[in-house]
Amino acid sequence: MSHEHGTPDGPGGVRPAEAWPETPIRVVLSEPARGVPGPRVMDELEERLLGSAPAAASKRPTALLVSLGTCLALLLGWYALPHLGLVNPLLLPDPIQVTRGLWLLIEGGFLPRHFKVTLTEVGIGFVIGATAGFVLGTLLALSPFLRKILSPYILALQSLPKVVLAPLIIGWLGFGVESKIATAVAICFFPLMINTLVGLTLPTDEPMKLMSSLGASRWQVYRKLRLPTAAPLIFVGVKHSALLAFTGALVAEILVGSSEGLGRLVATYNQQIRMELAFAVVVIVAAMAVAAVMFFDYLDRKLIFWREDKAGVR
């Protein structure tokens, strides 16, 4: 029997519609077709229904206009707040002043130095924290024994707001780059560890049974099943960790009376009530974070091409 009628044959309708029509369902036994009518000529109504353009296709420019409009409205609102006297203009400079502040910063020539310091702290802190998180998450996932003895401590540490550690770390490591890196590590380590742990233990009964039935080694199960299954979650952890590395490094910079870094700049301009400059630095930090997220989103799409908002093999 042929399948031009498209009998749905999957649970939950997983198949995309366009993959269906050319689906050859092979009839192996030479059996007569069971009352399936052959292809027939479409009537006028059917042709009209199938031929009409989908109504949604013409709506795209509208969506773009809406988001542009939203952006404009937000900028206008921001501009209006200090000018209508709703907020003290000293505390909230308008967008034009902030743009001017940004220009002043760039012209001043000292920005690259601070930018580099912060980027280095964040970068090193992220690499160390993420690596450690991944390694420990992996060990915990693969060793139920380790998981059992360490889980109470992990739970305690997980619930702890890690920022509170920053002053201690500064006390131990001093006012240099080290304490900022260490704070970044402490804060960005957890999400990746937890996501690695959860991701690697995600494979369900049947994939594990398949691997066992094939006599797969522990390494093969890890490499071919666990790691790819965990990859989407691990990537979420990576993104989260990268953003938290910013938080860690900036918090430490702001707490320490050090002379360098973007966090330091914000704190200094804040004290000097040069709010347009402080806001300008915030804009730069935001741009860095957005760039980082975009970078990881790009990697995510490239590496985890099979992601469909569901992790793991079912």
């Binding site: 029997m1 009998t7 993959a19 050859p24 369902i25 009839v27 192996v28 069971r34 049974k209 469909e308």
Partner: protein, 268 residues
């Protein structure tokens, strides 16, 4: 002890020495948080070379557990399972499994999925590629070789899963409700294809299902299992002629045998 030579002699009476599997006094107890649960009690069973055998019973009767013990995936609590005369201690490459879900890895193409067992065995993948493509064509997936599983319907995914287990050519197929998640029409198609493959290859098949019609339609013998603790209520010989088409279901004998199983299960 016989080798593969006896495969394909389906339906011929064999002594227990010719069995593919011998299950004797098998018990399986699970220790759960709410106490021990006896899943299987005193199972005795011979599986003949080349036969199509089904395990039928209500959910939770231990039929999947029995299949897993036979496969070497679960240890027995008591008793023994032997495969070709040797006690089963671990999974064997000569025993292939299929599950209710297709277990295709979404990051691999259909072809890469089918070749995965070859990779795990450390065999030469290139040598198996042509055969893999051939098998995919045989199950009607010739135009989906390079597709990803997400692009396939549920039935097509199970076809790919079937090609995967056929590629390394195990003598025995253990199928754990493989088509249970598919709709009725697709399942019938898959069953017909399975029968075709079974009769062409002479493999021994053990098929777990809770669908009585399906079990009678496919099998040489049906092992009817009672609710927990799982015991063998009866091993029923299906005496319908082969090759079977769906027409068999119109046969009065088909209805009688289905009804006999229903009575044994208390759902008549």
């Amino acid at each position: 002890m016989t080798g593969d030579t006896s495969l394909g002699t389906s339906g011929s009476p064999t002594s227990s020495r010719d069995s593919v599997f011998e299950v004797s006094h098998l018990y399986k107890v699970f220790h759960t948080d709410s106490g021990p649960v006896m899943a299987l009690r005193d199972i005795n069973l011979d599986v003949r070379p080349g036969e199509f055998l089904s395990f039928v019973g209500p959910s939770g009767c231990g039929k999947s557990t029995l299949l897993n013990v036979i496969a070497g995936l679960l240890p027995a609590s008591h008793g023994e399972v032997s495969f070709k005369g040797q006690p089963v201690k671990e999974p064997s490459r000569d025993i292939g499994m299929m599950f209710q879900t297709s277990v295709l890895f979404p990051w691999r193409t259909v072809l890469e999925n089918v070749l995965m067992p070859i990779e795990i065995f450390g065999w030469d993948k290139k040598a198996y590629k042509d055969r893999a493509v051939e098998l995919l064509a045989a199950v009607g997936l010739e135009s989906f070789v390079e597709a990803y599983p997400a692009q396939l319907s549920g039935g097509m995914q199970q076809r790919a899963s079937l090609a995967r287990v056929l590629l390394y050519d195990p003598a025995v197929l253990l199928l754990d409700e493989p088509f249970g998640a598919l709709d009725e029409f697709t399942r019938e198609n898959m069953n017909l294809e399975l029968l075709k493959i079974w009769s062409a290859t002479g493999k021994t098949v053990i098929f777990v299902t809770h669908n009585i019609n399906e079990a009678v339609f496919l099998s040489d013998r049906v092992v009817v299992m009672t609710p927990r603790p799982g015991e063998v209520a009866k091993v029923l010989d299906v005496d319908l002629p082969r090759p079977r088409s769906l027409q068999v279901m119109k046969d009065a004998r088909f209805g009688e045998q289905v009804f006999e199983i229903r009575e044994l299960l208390g759902v008549a």
